[in-house]
Subunit: 408 residues, 2 copies
């Protein structure tokens, strides 16, 4: 029997407790032994809860218990999770986490400490909830040169954008409804400003390209500026506006970006709606692959944490070998990246051409007066922004996810 | 440096050779050592090919070479691949294969032999080409009770059905074009009769539910009877006809089936077109997940084989622990499964109701005279077939993939 502990009995921590109980038989069959929760650490009390009998308020109970070999960290934040995780790894215990903030901030160091102590620091649940994308990158697509990772990695913003698109709502209304339904937090900045997706794409890209990418260096734009008119234009052009977290390896270097983009049917992510998440990974041999599932939620996220716990139990005393570099990757500035841009501006086609050169997909919407939407030719972001700074009457603009020529 | 051999230098075998060379740097970085092809076994000659210098016609060269620790089997068929694989495993060499026929037929025995000899028999490439679905089931969704596995697992039939749907072609015309483009073989029976998908769903279901499922016990229907009119009705009802390979664990037992089915937008597989494959896996904690990619082709399939080779090199002397049972699963007869059915028949609504009871989604197509299409209520297949045997004027029928009530 393997004994584990859970630190943080919130949504995900309680989900881990529940999943291990609910599926104990299947898990024991696959691991070859039972997995049992010996301690749950939380400052609160949980009278009447199934975890009540194993609840502790003292971290030392877990740190010093020689029977506990794996610890689940579902506390979130950096304090005290960073210090706790470090101490546990140094005490020879593996740690499994859903804490993307900690992984993005201190993952490199914590993985090194795990390695030095022949244990594991696993974080499948930190990106994409129940989607097993970390293990796919670490253990499956190992024969690939990864060329692109693009994901819809935040359920809150995808829910808001979907409800704006499907029901024609304003951003503020859609956000309020998401909050009422529990899909958005009272303080939604981390989601709607793109910071959550930013941390996740930094983690995934580090694994995909084998070099560390600090989340601080990821250019990040949120969705607070997305107007329902923008979405109406996208729809008229047979597109969707999605918050994409994307990184791509090009000849000149690798770039990374989180921003709302306009994508069309050529992109399998276009159909990913509501709170669902998906990650597209392109490799030079396998081509385009995609992984889809619940990006959040108690049980889906818990399922990913439990998968990590199982891996730790199966690998006691062994650090699972994965590609790993402490070296930080030099990123290509997004200014250098070329693509078409969607522009919405007041005026006529002649003015649009005068400002942006050759344009296509010119679209006018009823009820929007003398404005129009269109796509520019493919150009570097630097060039586009130069044109933009001189253009008059521009209301909004978005990056088009992919060249039109590549469509169909 | 790890030395390996490749048996069978056809499309996939040559792809493995190419991928290992093309991505040697990335692979060495991830494995910690280089992987080098020491021998390629094929009866043919390949003058001028990069593999020429390591070509052998004698299996003994590989079997008796102590330096070769991993062997790729991309010969296909059962003879001599079964005997070769057995001998290699018994000689302490791991084997990685794309041969679904061999895995479906002798996989249980070969895995046991691998285990007895502390080596591995891996077959990621046997199902879904480049989609890492085997590793997802074995190593990622390990905390789940899997409830359903449904896939579009055959690229040839999906290409044909897509081209029938998008271009209104007859089956015969679509098949001929698929053959001309190299997407269908000259003898396409294994694909169009559903046998290929049948072997794959038997393998995936065995892994998902932890008991052996013989491919011979999978009720299998192909797509040769699909008429372009059937597809037109599906379209009019906002559905697609797809060859689904599916298994589901219900309270009463587990059933499995390969058949063309009508699915709607509620099912993420509906959007999977052309030669692409996808597998949907539902677990009781994680919910619905989906995995999408190239189901065939030289490099995507090779990528999956190479991933297995890398896993074998990383686990020298250790059998990777996966759930595994030699016990055969008792299956629920498909007759017991309840769902709505699509029926296309001559006559009017009154006749349809007289034959099948309450009906919905009644559809008439221009140019198809006095016939109509409709959905029955949810009923067991047994009940449906009893009604069918008494009904007059039925032209065709399909299983509807999911209850209408569950839509949206």
């Amino acid at each position: 029997m393997a004994q584990i502990a859970i630190m943080g009995y919130g949504t995900v921590g309680a989900g881990v407790f529940k999943t291990l109980a609910m599926n104990s038989e299947a898990i024991a069959r696959r691991v070859g032994e039972e997995i049992c929760v010996k301690s749950v650490l939380d400052l609160r009390e949980f009278p009447g809860d199934p975890a009540e009998s194993v609840l502790t308020h003292d971290f030392q109970d877990i740190l010093t218990d020689p029977e506990i070999s794996v610890v689940v960290e579902t506390m979130g934040g950096l304090k005290p999770s960073y210090s706790f995780t470090k101490q546990l790894l140094m005490a020879g215990k593996s740690v499994c986490t859903s804490n993307k903030e900690l992984v993005a901030e201190h993952g490199v160091e914590l993985r090194q400490i795990a390695r030095d102590n022949s244990v594991n620091y696993l974080f499948e649940a930190s990106c994409g909830g129940g989607i097993p994308i970390i293990r796919v990158l670490n253990n499956s697509l190992t024969a690939e040169e990864i060329e692109e990772v693009t994901g819809i990695l935040n359920g809150t913003t995808n829910y808001i954008l979907t409800s704006m698109a499907d029901e024609g709502k304003d951003f503020a209304v859609a956000l309020k409804e998401a909050q009422e339904k529990g899909y958005a937090e009272l303080h939604p900045e981390a989601d709607v400003e793109g910071w959550d997706a930013c941390r996740k794409i930094a983690i995934l890209s580090s694994l995909a390209y084998g070099r560390h990418i600090g989340w601080q260096s990821v250019p990040t734009e949120g969705i607070t500026g997305v107007d329902k008119a923008d979405i109406a234009y996208a729809k008229a052009m047979n597109c969707r506006i999605k918050l994409l977290a994307t990184s791509r390896r090009e000849k000149e270097g690798t770039w990374i970006l989180v921003a709302p983009m306009m994508i069309g049917r050529e992109n399998p992510l276009t159909a990913v709606d509501g709170v669902m998440n998906a990650v597209m990974v392109k490799g030079n041999a396998v081509g385009t692959t995609m992984y889809y599932g619940s990006g959040a939620g108690s049980l889906p996220t818990a399922s990913a944490v439990c998968g990590d716990v199982i891996d730790c139990v199966k690998h006691r005393g062994i650090t699972i070998r994965t590609e790993y570099s402490t070296e930080t990757m030099q990123l290509l500035p997004v200014d250098e990246v070329s693509r078409p841009f969607f522009v919405r501006m007041r005026g006529d086609e002649q003015a649009a051409r005068a400002a942006f050169g050759s344009i296509s997909h010119v679209t006018r919407l009823e009820g929007y007066g003398d404005e129009l939407g269109f796509l520019t030719d493919t150009m570097s972001e630097k060039t586009f922004k130069e044109l933009l700074s001189k253009a008059e009457g521009v209301i909004s603009w978005y990056r088009r996810g992919k060249k039109e020529e590549e469509e169909a």
